[in-house]
C-alpha cells in the first residue's frame, strides 16, 4: 500500500488548548443515568475552567450506543449549541474528537467545545462484553468472528498479544509490570477504583481470562463520565486554569485492512507504527522530549505495544521498556500516573487525557494538601511517591496520549505546559 502524504499542519501547533477537565466518581453502581453522569462531569469541567453555560457553544461525544446525546445534556445545563456531534466509537475517540473540535473551531462553526464520554460500563452496558451485549443476534460480517467466541476486546486482541510473545520473546512477567506500576500510581490517587498496589506474582497468579490475559492484565469495569473543554489558546489565558496547549493530534489512524487487520502483518505491529509518521512531525518533537505518557491500558499489553510502535523503544523491546521502571513515578517517563484503565476506572481514554492536563498544570489531585490561599486549589506537592501521597511528576513540559481502539486503530494527542 502506498504511503499517504500527511504533511504536518505545523501552523496549528500551540493554537488550541484544553482549558477544563472534569469527571464523576469512578464506581460500580452509579445509581444514575448516563445523562445525569454526563451533566455531573461537564459541570465539573466548566467549574474547573471557570466557564459558564453561555461561554460554551460546541459539544461532542462518543459511545457505543451506551451513552446519552449532546442536545439532552446541553438542554440540562442551559448551553445553546452552535455545533454538536455525537459519534460511534470507543477507545481512541477522545484524541480524535479533540482534533475535530479544533477543526470545528478553526472552521468558524463554534468557539468552545465540550467533549464527553458517559458510561455505566459496569451497571448497564458492560465493557467486558458480558450481559446483554453478548446475547445479541449475530448478523452478516459478525459471523466471521462472534460464533467462535471471538467477541470481547480481550478475545479479539489476544492473537496480537500472543504473537508479540512469539516474535520477540516477551514474557508474561514483563508485561505484568504495567499493572504493577499503574497500581502503584493508583495508590496515590484518591479517585481510583482500585487503590491497592499489586505484585507481578499477583498478576500471574490471577485467573486466566483469555490467554495470554490474566484477570489482572485486564482493565476495570466502572460507571463514570468524563469531560474536557477545548478552545483557542488565545482565549485560554483569560480562564481559570493554566492551559494545556495542544501540539499535535492524530485521530483513528488505521493499519491496512481495518476490516480485519490480521490480514496485513506483522500482526504484533499496531496502529502506532503509522501514527508516529503523523504525530512526531506535527508536534515537532521526538520521543525523548516527552515527559509523561498516557498509553491506553485496556490491557497490560496495549500499553506496551503502543509505546514500542510509537518509538519509545526499539521494535520488540516493549517488554524490556515496561519492565524497566521508566514508566514509574520517579522514573524517566511515567505512564498513566492516575492508575489508568487498569486501576482508576474505564473511560475509553478520557481519564488519561484529564490526568495529563492536570500533570501539565502541575496540580494533579493526589493526597498532598491544598494551599488554602490558592484560587485554583493548588496542591503543595512533595514529590515523595509513597502510597497515599504525591503523584505529581516534577518538571513536566510535554505529555503524550496514545489512544487505542484495537491493534489496527489508534489516536494520539501531544500537549505541552501552557
Amino acid at each position: 500500500m502506498t504511503d499517504i502524504d500527511t504533511t504536518p499542519p505545523a501552523y496549528l501547533r500551540d493554537k488550541y488548548a484544553i482549558v477544563g477537565v472534569g469527571e464523576t466518581s469512578y464506581t460500580r453502581g452509579s445509581g444514575m443515568t448516563t445523562r445525569a453522569l454526563a451533566t455531573w462531569a461537564i459541570k465539573n469541567a466548566m467549574d474547573d475552567a471557570g466557564l459558564n453555560s453561555s461561554e460554551i457553544d460546541g459539544m461532542m461525544s462518543y459511545s457505543g450506543n451506551d451513552s446519552t446525546a449532546s442536545p439532552l445534556i446541553a438542554g440540562d445545563l442551559g448551553i445553546r449549541l452552535n455545533f454538536y456531534m455525537d459519534v460511534m466509537g470507543g477507545g481512541s475517540s477522545s484524541e480524535a474528537l479533540v482534533g475535530l473540535a479544533m477543526g470545528a473551531i478553526e472552521a468558524g462553526m463554534c468557539n468552545t467545545v465540550v467533549i464527553f464520554r458517559s458510561m455505566n460500563g459496569y451497571s448497564q452496558v458492560r465493557i467486558g462484553g458480558t450481559g446483554a451485549r453478548a446475547s445479541q443476534p449475530v448478523q452478516g460480517d459478525a459471523l466471521h468472528n462472534v460464533p467462535y467466541g471471538w467477541f470481547s476486546a480481550g478475545q479479539n486482541f489476544s492473537p496480537s498479544f500472543m504473537r508479540h510473545m512469539y516474535d520477540y520473546g516477551t514474557t508474561p512477567a514483563q508485561v505484568a509490570m504495567v499493572k504493577v506500576i499503574h497500581s502503584e500510581h493508583a495508590s496515590r490517587n484518591p479517585k481510583a477504583y482500585y487503590k491497592t498496589p499489586v505484585t507481578v506474582d499477583d498478576v500471574l497468579s490471577s485467573r486466566m481470562i483469555c490467554k495470554p490475559l490474566h484477570l489482572l492484565d485486564c482493565c476495570v469495569e466502572t460507571d463514570n463520565a468524563t469531560a474536557l473543554i477545548v478552545t483557542r489558546a488565545t482565549r485560554a489565558y483569560d480562564l481559570r486554569q493554566k492551559p494545556a496547549r495542544i501540539l499535535a493530534v492524530a485521530g483513528r489512524v488505521c493499519k491496512p485492512r481495518s476490516d480485519m487487520h490480521f490480514q496485513h502483518g506483522p500482526i504484533s505491529t499496531v496502529a502506532g507504527h503509522y501514527i508516529k509518521e503523523i504525530i512526531w512531525p506535527n508536534a515537532g518533537i521526538t520521543p525523548d522530549d516527552v515527559d509523561i505518557t498516557g498509553a491506553y491500558d485496556a490491557f497490560t499489553f496495549t500499553t506496551m505495544l503502543q509505546l514500542e510502535d510509537y518509538g519509545f523503544c526499539d521494535k520488540g523491546e516493549g517488554g524490556d521498556y515496561v519492565a524497566s521502571g521508566i514508566m514509574r513515578l520517579g522514573g524517566k517517563r511515567p505512564n498513566n500516573t492516575s492508575g489508568g484503565h487498569l486501576c482508576e476506572g474505564y473511560t475509553h481514554g478520557m481519564n488519561m487525557i484529564i490526568e495529563n492536563v492536570r500533570q501539565l498544570r502541575e496540580n494533579v489531585d493526589d493526597y498532598c494538601p491544598i494551599n488554602s490561599g490558592s484560587s485554583t486549589e493548588q496542591r503543595m506537592h512533595t514529590y515523595n511517591y509513597a502510597e497515599q501521597s504525591c503523584r505529581q511528576v516534577k518538571d513536566v513540559n510535554i505529555s503524550m496520549n496514545l489512544g487505542w481502539a484495537m491493534p489496527g486503530t489508534g489516536s494520539s494527542l501531544v500537549m505541552r505546559k501552557g
Binding site: T130, S135, M165, R207, K211, F262, Q263
Partner: protein, 172 residues
C-alpha cells in the same frame, strides 16, 4: 434470509448481504470458496465488496484449499457469551492459508479465523488444545448450522507433519 442457531446464538444473513450469503452457502455445501479479483487476481478474506489491493469491484468465487498453519491464537478460559460457558477452555486460531501466503507482500496472508475442533468437529478438549500452538498444521472442517449456513473450523491436519513442539504461551 438465512437463519440458524448455534450455541444459543441466533445467526442470520440478510438477502441483501450477497457476499456473505454466497460465502456461507458454499461452506454449507462443504466447499471453501473465496473471492478472486477479476483484475489483479488476488484472493481476499473475509468476503468484501471490492479488492483491497486494486479497488476493483468485480470478482469470481474460486475454490481455495482449506489448509494452513497457525499464525497465532487466543485461548479462552472465561466465557463471555452464555453458550460458551461449558465449552471453556476453547481455542481461537488465526490460520495462514497456504494459498497466497506471503503475497502480495511478505507480511500478508489469507488469515482465516476459527476454533480448534477435534476430528468429529466438536470444540477441542483441553488435552488436544495443549498440543496446538503457533506453527501447527491445520485443515478446515465445516459444521453445518442450517440450510445455506455452515461455519468453517480448524482441525489438526493428520496428513501433514506437525512441529515437534508448536509454540505455546510460555507459562503453563
Amino acid at each position: 434470509m438465512v437463519i440458524g442457531d448455534y450455541l444459543g446464538m441466533s445467526l442470520s444473513i440478510s438477502d441483501m448481504d450477497t457476499e456473505n450469503l454466497t460465502y456461507f452457502g458454499y461452506c454449507s455445501d462443504g466447499e471453501f470458496r473465496l473471492q478472486k479479483c477479476l483484475d489483479c487476481g488476488f484472493i481476499r478474506y473475509p468476503p468484501g465488496t471490492a479488492c483491497p489491493w486494486c479497488s476493483n469491484r468485480t470478482f469470481e468465487w474460486v475454490v481455495v484449499e482449506g489448509q494452513g498453519e497457525v499464525h497465532s491464537y487466543g485461548e479462552v478460559h472465561h466465557a463471555v457469551q452464555k453458550g460458551f460457558g461449558e465449552k471453556v477452555p476453547y481455542m481461537i486460531l488465526v490460520v495462514d492459508l497456504d494459498t497466497q501466503k506471503g503475497e502480495p507482500t511478505e507480511y500478508e496472508a489469507l488469515r482465516v479465523v476459527g476454533n480448534l475442533v477435534d476430528e468429529k468437529g466438536s470444540l477441542a478438549s483441553p488435552t488436544l488444545i495443549k498440543n496446538v500452538g503457533i506453527g501447527s498444521r491445520v485443515r478446515m472442517v465445516f459444521n453445518k448450522v442450517s440450510d445455506g449456513l455452515a461455519l468453517p473450523f480448524w482441525a489438526l491436519d493428520e496428513n501433514r507433519e506437525q512441529p515437534t513442539t508448536p509454540w505455546r504461551y510460555p507459562e503453563e
